[in-house]
């Protein structure tokens, strides 16, 4: 009799949606709590203390840590860089992603190959891809320099990562290169969602390529392009691998961004409280952007 009772109990649990919901969601919840929630709360706590690897006591100092972080000129440079890198990189992303999406929705030979190549930067791990860029931009062996030299455009190497302006440009280009595939796929989905009769109507109404592009396609895509850009901005602001691998923030902190500065200050320099304060600095901005993305994604309507 006990076996029957046990079996019916098991069946009861297996048919209980509340139990099943809890069971299926628990891995995700545990993962988020352990690897996102816990460090996040810890960072907030740390940012109000003067904790360091030398003195791991939690002495609360109020907003002092934030004040000290703000006084540092490197922090201001990093803040400035974070915004500019995100803005310039994503301007490049918008143009390239829209053009690519337009090309990739056409029919041509070898389309699958081009689609594959476009998506490649997205599937490669960021750090690995950035190491490839590190070699590509090498001060001595850079193939770009070699090409420019062969063309007779330069006589000596550019030192892409050795000069502040070129190093900033390099970081922006690599960030854009990394985000373009995702943005292109998002915009492509938007393009495919435009009803084919709209495109037919444009043809019958006699609009040329540019008029169609700027007066019909792009206005219809605007909400989806905005989603792609905001995703791109979040990805660029929150990323530290590109800058860390390419320049470590150098030369002389000219490419420093908040994420690398937080890592250098907090982990490498041992000032955990200040590192946490730097890392949290853009939290309100990111939360704001995320809220906008979610609203846009929900409100999107083509017809």
């Amino acid at each position: 009799m006990t076996s029957v009772a046990g079996a019916s109990r098991r069946r009861y649990l297996a048919d209980n949606p509340r139990f099943l919901a809890g069971l299926f969601m628990s891995p995700a919840v545990v993962y988020i709590l352990a690897l996102v929630g816990f460090p996040f709360v810890l960072a907030i706590i740390y940012s109000f203390t003067d904790i360091s690897t030398g003195n791991p006591d939690l002495d609360f100092v109020g907003w002092d840590t934030f004040a000290r972080v703000l006084e540092d000129p490197v922090f201001r440079q990093a803040l400035w860089n974070t915004f500019w890198f995100a803005i310039v990189a994503n301007l490049i992303v918008v143009v390239l992603a829209t053009a690519l999406a337009e090309v990739l929705t056409r029919d041509f030979k070898g389309k699958w190959l081009v689609r594959f190549l476009v998506l490649l930067p997205w599937v490669a791990p960021v750090s690995l891809a950035t190491i490839t860029w590190l070699w590509t931009l090498d001060s001595i062996f850079s193939p770009i320099d070699w090409g420019l030299r062969e063309l007779g455009l330069i006589t000596e190497n550019m030192y892409w990562l050795g000069r502040p302006e070129l190093a900033r440009l390099s970081v922006v280009v690599v960030q854009a290169w990394r985000v373009v595939p995702l943005a292109a796929v998002i915009v492509m989905a938007g393009l495919i969602a435009i009803p084919s009769e709209i495109n037919d109507a444009v043809s019958v109404d006699g609009a040329g390529t540019w008029r169609k592009m700027f007066q019909v396609t792009i206005p219809l895509l605007a909400p989806i392009i905005a989603v792609a850009v905001l995703f791109g901005v979040i990805l660029t602001i929150s990323d530290m691998s590109v800058v860390y691998v390419l320049t470590r923030g150098g030369p002389t902190n000219s490419t420093q961004v908040l994420s690398t500065w937080a890592f250098i200050k907090g982990i490498e320099g041992g000032a955990l409280g200040q590192g946490a304060a730097v890392a949290l600095f853009l939290l309100p901005v990111l939360v704001g952007i995320t809220a906008v993305v979610l609203r846009l994604a929900r409100r999107r309507e083509v017809l």
Binding site: E197, D200, A201, S203, V204, A207, V216, L220
Partner: protein, 343 residues
């Protein structure tokens, strides 16, 4: 205004033949309907005339000019789509003005034109609205105004009424007819709805499997169908078809009348009709049954409400058809043949 003519027009999509060697010529200012079941190639034919689809083979002439290879904008046509395809991000005024902007018309002249087109369809009050703020009927008027505003030589309409509900559809049909009569532009209208086709078309081209089966006035295609397909596609309920030795013959359900109702002096062919079921529909009665001598083939008779004669189910009744209302078809090809002797 122009005459539309297609010669030997074909369109293949891979192995699928969507349009199969169609010859068609409209009259000047005619309302020509392309009618057929879905997948018969009527929309593909229309899209080729518009220039949205390139034919595999054949010629398209608009006003005696061969337009093969010309883009839609060079053809001076206008098209109204099934979904209306209004630009959702533009106001009604900008929607109507869009084809004029594409022509490079000056803003002053443009707004005069937009105003004129809007007044023609009674939508002046909606010019600042956006498509999503409009009802189905209003959207259709905007789509028509946008099509008309550049004064096309040919109007192409792809099932423009199918998105409207039944009540609106009758009113919209009326509007459309009145407007077409007033502007007098050659119109090609695609539909799968035979009521629309019969009610609106000056002539109807009945299509099936990429071919035009018959072109004629509504009376011609209804009363003198060229083949079995046209006979059974048109009419609701469709023509009754019976198999005699070596050929097929058929008659319309409303021509199959009980003895004593029909005019006596006309030459009539009598049948014994076994009625299985009577369906009372208010304005008419449908009688379902069969004629024993003809292989138990199902037959439908339609009696108007003015015939009050009682008809019982599960009984034999004496019915007859006027001899000149019987149509004869070849058993193999299904094509119309001259009258035969029935018995």
């Amino acid at each position: 205004m122009a005459v539309v003519e297609v010669r030997g027009l074909s369109k293949h999509f891979g192995d699928v033949v969507a349009v199969d060697g169609v010859d068609l010529r409209s009259e000047e200012g005619e309302f020509l309907v392309l009618l057929g079941p879905s997948g018969c190639g009527k929309t593909t034919l229309l899209r080729m005339i518009a220039g949205l689809e390139q034919p595999t083979d054949g010629e398209i002439l608009l006003g005696d000019e061969n337009v093969i290879g010309l883009p839609p904008r060079a053809r001076r046509i206008a098209m109204v789509f099934q979904s209306y395809a209004l630009y959702p991000h533009m106001t009604v005024a900008n929607n109507i003005a869009f084809p004029l902007k594409s022509q490079g018309m000056e803003p002053g002249e443009r707004s005069t034109k937009v105003q004129w087109a809007a007044e023609l369809f009674g939508i002046e009050g909606l010019l600042q609205r956006r498509p999503r703020q409009l009802s189905g009927g209003e959207r259709q008027r905007v789509a028509l105004a946008r099509a008309l505003v550049r004064e096309p030589t040919v109007f192409l309409l792809d099932e423009p009424l199918s998105n409207l509900d039944a009540k609106l559809r009758a009113a919209a049909r009326d509007d459309l007819m009145e407007f077409q009569r007033r502007i007098g532009t050659t119109t090609i209208y695609v539909t799968h709805d035979q009521v629309e086709a019969m009610g609106m078309g000056d002539r109807i081209a009945v299509m099936d499997h990429g071919k035009v089966r018959q072109i004629g006035t509504p009376e011609e295609v209804y009363h003198h169908p060229a083949d079995v397909f046209v006979a059974t596609f048109l009419g609701s309920p469709p023509m009754n078809l019976l198999e005699a030795t070596g050929f097929l013959f058929g008659f319309r359900p409303e021509q199959f009348l009980p003895e004593g109702i029909a005019e006596v002096e006309s030459d009539r062919v009598p049948f014994t009709f076994h009625v299985n079921r009577v369906e009372y529909l208010g304005s008419e009665r449908y009688l379902y049954g069969h004629i024993r001598e003809y292989n138990e083939t199902k037959i439908i008779a339609m009696l108007p409400a003015t015939v009050t004669l009682p008809i019982r189910a599960d009984q034999d009744h004496k019915f007859s058809v006027a001899a000149d209302q019987i149509r004869y078809f070849d058993r193999e090809t299904g094509e119309k043949i001259p009258p035969r002797v029935l018995r």
